[in-house]
Amino acid sequence: MIAFIARRFGSGAFLLLIISTIAYFLMFFSATNVAMNILGEDATSEAILAKQRELGLDQPLLERYWAWLTNAITGDFGISWFTNEDIVKTILARLPITMTLVIGAILIAAVLATILGMTAAVKGGAIDRLVQFLAVAGFAVPNFVVAIFLVTLFAINWALLPATGWVPLQEDPTQWFLSLVLPTSALVLATVASAAQQIRSAIKAVLEKDWVRTLTSRGIPRREILFKHVLRSAAPAGLTVLSLQFVGMLGGAVIIESIFALPGLGSLAVESTSKGDTPVVMGVVVFTVVIVILVNLVVDLVNGWLNPKVRV
C-alpha cells in the first residue's frame, strides 16, 4: 500500500510540474500589457515602463519562470500584482469557501444519486424512466440557470435565504449554513442527475451477475444483498463518477461563485486570469492541481479498499 501511495505521489508531483509550467507559459503568451491594466488608461508611457520594471517584466521569460518555480517550491508564491496581498494568504482565505461548497455538494449528490440510481436499477419501470428523464434534464439545464431560478424564488420572492454572500462558520453557524443552501443546491442538481444515471447502470450490471442470483437462491434477504454486496461491487464505478464530478464542480464553482458573489477560489481564478495577475493565477493553478491529485488519490485508496485488485 505504501508503494502504491508513493507511486501516486510521484506521478502527482510530475503532473503538477508539467501543468504549472504550461500554465505559466500560457499566461505569458496570452497577456499583453499587465502594467497598463494596473495603471489604467490615463497612465503615461513612462509610468507603464516603470511598472513593468517593478514587476520584473523586463526580465527574460525563462529567468522569470525559474525565479517563480524556485520560490514556489519553498511555498513562496509572492504577492498579487493587483492587490499586493500575499497569494498563499489570499488562497487560504478563499479555499475553505470553495471546498465547503464543492464537498458539501458532492456529499449530498452522492447520497441522492445513490438512492435514485439504486431505486431505478432495482425497481425499473416508470421510476427507472423518470430517473433517466431527470438525468437528461439535469444535463440540459446549466447550473447558472438553476442558480438564478433558485435565487429569484427563495431569496427575492420569498425572502427565505440570502441571495448572495458568505458568512464564516465561526461568525454565525446558522447564517453560514443558510448562505450555502442555494449555491450548493445549484451545484447538486446537475451532479445528481448524471451520477444517478451512472450508478444506476453500475448497479444494473452487478444485479445481472451470477453470484447475485446465487445469493438470492440461498435465501439471503434482498435488502442484505443490495446494501452489503451489490452496492459495494458497484461502488468503484460510482466513486469514479463522483471524483470526476468533483473536479468538474471545481470548474462549475466559478460560475456559481460569481452569481452568488462568493469570495471563493473560482471567482479569484476568473478575476486574476482576466486581469493577467500571473502570480495569483499560478497560485490558484497549483492549489487546484494539488486538490485534484489528492481527490484522485483518496478515490484510488477507497477503490483499493473496496477492491484489492486495483492496488496491483
Binding site: 499583453t32 489604467g40 497612465a43 503615461t44 456529499l107 452522492a110 435565487v151 425572502a159 440570502p162 454572500g165
Partner: protein, 504 residues
C-alpha cells in the same frame, strides 16, 4: 461503518439540513445605521499614490480625507485645506491647511505631512501620477504649502479633490503595510479583521472625526461583486443598499421600486486615431471621417446596445460642460446618400476597408459593421481578449477603434483627447486649430478662456471627426428604500459623502 449505515447517516444529515431550513428567516437587511454598497471592483492598493477615479473613489473616501472636497454638482469646498489660491498663470497653488486634525493612529496633520503625501503621490507611479508630473511641494509654514507645477493647470483643484491628495498617516506612509491596511484621517476607520481583499472592505465610524456631518452611518461595507446579476439579486433582496446595474438588469430594479440615479458620465463611439492616414490612408481625408459619422444610425445602435437608454450625441463634451454646444449634436444626421457623396469627395469612392479590434459585445460589431457596410466600408474585426481591449487600442496598431470614454471637466477632456500627448490621442495627432487653442491657454488659463477654448476644441473635434460619438451612456445606479444618494459630476458612481439614510 458499512455502506448501508453510511447511507443512513447521510440521509439523517440531509434531513437535519432540511429541518434547519424550514421556517428559516435570516436577517437579510442590515441595521439601517449600516451602509452596504455593491462595488464593481476593489482597490488595488490602499497606498493613496495608487488611487484612481470612478468606482474606487468611495472606497478611498471612507478612510482618507482630500485636501479639497468636490460636491455632487462639481463645486469645490474646503476639506483638509481651508482655502487655496492659484497664481495668475496657473502654475502655483498655495493652500492653507486645517489645524487640529488627527489621523486614527494618533499622528497629527500639518504641512509637513501634506507635503510627504503629495511627494508620495508624485513619486508613487500610480494611475493618476501623470497629473502632477514634475510638480514640487514646499512647506511655507506649519499650516501652509505651495504646489508648483511644470505646466499650467487651471483645474488643479479638480485633481486635488479626486485622486491626488488623499492624506495617509505619516506613520504609515512609505510602509509596506499601507498597501493592505489604510490609515487616514477620514470619516471611517478600516476594519482589517472584517475585511477581505477582493471580497469586502469594512469601515466603522471614526469617533474623533473633525467633521461629524460627514458621518451618516456607524458602519460602511463595500461588497465586491463583479457580476451584475449578483448585484441585482443582492439589491432586490436587501443585502446591499445601492449599486450600479446595466441596461439588462435596470428594468427589473425599476419594477421593484428601486430608486434610479441616472448619470450620463461616458460617451461611446469610434475613436479615429489615424487622422494622418499612416495606417489607413483613407482616414486622412476629413470627408471620409465625416462620411463614417453620417453612415451611423445612432438611434438603432442605442436601441440594440443600450435598450434605448442614453442620449444621442455627436460631440464628446457633456451637456453639463461649458464646452457643450447643442447645435453640434445635429452635425451628423444619419444619411447614407450624404455619406456616399462624402466618400466620393474624399477620394474613397465606393468605400474602403477598415480594421478595428472587436468590441467585447458582438451585437455592437454586427450592427455597426452592417451600418458601415451599407456605404461600402468593410470592417474587419480583430478578435482581442476583453481584458486586453483597452491595451490593444493603445498599442497604436489600429487606425480606429470603439471605446467608451469618460466626459471629464474641460481641462481633463482636452488633455485626454486633444493635446498631442493626450491619453487617447494615441497616434499623437496635431492640428493648427488645436495648437492655437492650447497656446491661448498657455497665455491665459483663466476659467473664462478655458471655457472659450474648450468650445473651440469641441467644435474642431466634432467637425473634423477625430471622434465619432454615438450616444452618452447612462450609468444606471440604483438605491433601495433605506438610503438616498446623489449623482456625482464626472464620476461613474456617487461619492461616499452623498449617502444618507432615508429614515425608512
Amino acid at each position: 461503518m458499512n455502506l448501508s449505515k453510511r447511507i443512513g447517516a447521510g440521509l439523517v444529515a440531509l434531513a437535519l439540513a432540511g429541518s434547519a431550513l424550514t421556517g428559516a428567516t435570516p436577517a437579510l437587511a442590515a441595521n439601517k445605521t449600516d451602509l452596504v454598497l455593491g462595488s464593481l471592483i476593489d482597490v488595488k492598493s490602499w497606498d493613496p499614490s495608487q488611487a484612481d477615479i470612478g468606482h474606487m473613489a468611495p472606497l478611498y473616501q471612507a478612510v482618507y480625507d482630500n485636501l479639497i472636497l468636490r460636491t455632487p454638482d462639481g463645486k469645490y469646498k474646503p476639506n483638509l485645506a481651508t482655502s487655496w489660491k492659484l497664481n495668475a498663470d496657473n502654475t502655483e497653488m498655495t493652500l492653507k491647511l486645517r489645524t487640529g486634525v488627527k489621523f486614527t493612529d494618533g499622528a497629527s496633520f500639518d504641512a509637513t505631512v501634506a507635503k510627504a503625501n503629495l511627494d508620495n503621490f508624485i513619486k508613487g507611479n500610480g494611475p493618476q501620477a501623470g497629473t502632477l508630473t514634475g510638480a514640487t511641494v514646499a512647506v511655507v509654514d506649519a499650516t501652509t504649502i505651495t504646489i508648483k507645477l511644470v505646466d499650467p493647470n487651471p483645474e488643479l483643484a479638480y485633481y486635488l479633490s479626486t485622486t491626488d491628495s488623499y492624506m495617509a498617516s505619516p506613520k504609515a506612509l512609505g510602509t509596506a503595510g499601507l498597501k493592505t491596511t489604510p490609515v487616514g484621517s477620514g470619516p471611517y476607520i478600516f476594519d482589517a479583521a472584517a475585511s477581505s481583499a477582493g471580497s469586502q472592505e469594512v469601515f466603522t465610524a471614526n469617533p474623533n472625526y473633525w467633521d461629524k456631518s460627514k458621518i451618516k452611518f456607524k458602519k460602511v461595507t463595500f461588497k465586491v461583486m463583479s457580476d451584475v446579476t449578483a448585484r441585482l439579486n443582492a439589491l432586490l433582496s436587501g443585502q446591499i443598499d445601492a449599486t450600479l446595474l446595466d441596461t439588462k438588469t435596470s428594468e427589473t430594479a425599476k419594477s421593484r421600486k428601486m430608486t434610479q440615479y441616472l448619470n450620463n458620465v461616458d460617451w461611446q463611439g469610434i475613436l479615429i486615431f489615424d487622422r494622418a492616414g499612416k495606417i489607413n490612408p483613407a482616414l486622412k481625408n476629413v470627408k471620409v471621417r465625416q462620411a463614417i459619422a453620417h453612415a451611423i444610425n445612432r438611434p438603432a445602435l442605442l436601441k440594440a446596445l443600450q435598450n434605448g437608454q442614453g442620449e444621442l450625441t455627436n460631440q464628446v463634451f457633456a451637456k453639463s460642460s461649458p464646452a457643450y454646444d447643442a447645435a453640434l449634436d445635429k452635425t451628423y444626421p444619419f444619411d447614407i446618400k450624404k455619406a456616399k457623396q462624402l466618400l466620393t469627395e474624399g477620394n474613397a469612392t465606393g468605400g474602403f476597408d477598415l480594421t478595428m479590434p472587436a468590441w467585447p459585445d458582438p451585437t455592437m460589431n454586427a450592427v455597426l459593421g452592417d451600418q458601415l457596410k451599407a456605404v461600402g466600408i468593410n470592417v474587419t474585426w480583430t478578435q482581442v481578449p476583453a481584458a486586453d481591449y483597452r491595451n490593444a487600442l493603445k498599442t497604436g496598431k489600429y487606425a480606429a477603434g470603439l471605446f467608451q470614454l469618460f466626459q471629464g471637466t474641460p481641462w481633463v477632456a482636452i488633455n485626454q483627447m486633444a493635446t498631442p500627448n493626450g491619453s487617447w490621442n494615441v497616434l499623437k495627432s496635431t492640428d493648427p486649430v488645436i495648437d492655437r487653442a492650447l497656446n491661448s491657454l498657455k497665455d491665459d488659463a483663466s476659467e473664462k478662456n478655458l471655457n472659450a477654448q474648450a468650445k473651440v476644441i469641441n467644435r474642431f473635434l466634432t467637425e473634423s471627426a477625430w471622434y465619432i460619438p454615438f450616444y452618452r451612456v447612462p450609468q444606471l445606479f440604483f438605491a433601495g428604500a433605506r438610503v438616498k444618494t446623489a449623482n456625482q459630476a464626472q464620476n461613474a458612481i456617487p461619492y461616499l459623502y452623498s449617502y444618507a439614510p432615508t429614515g425608512k
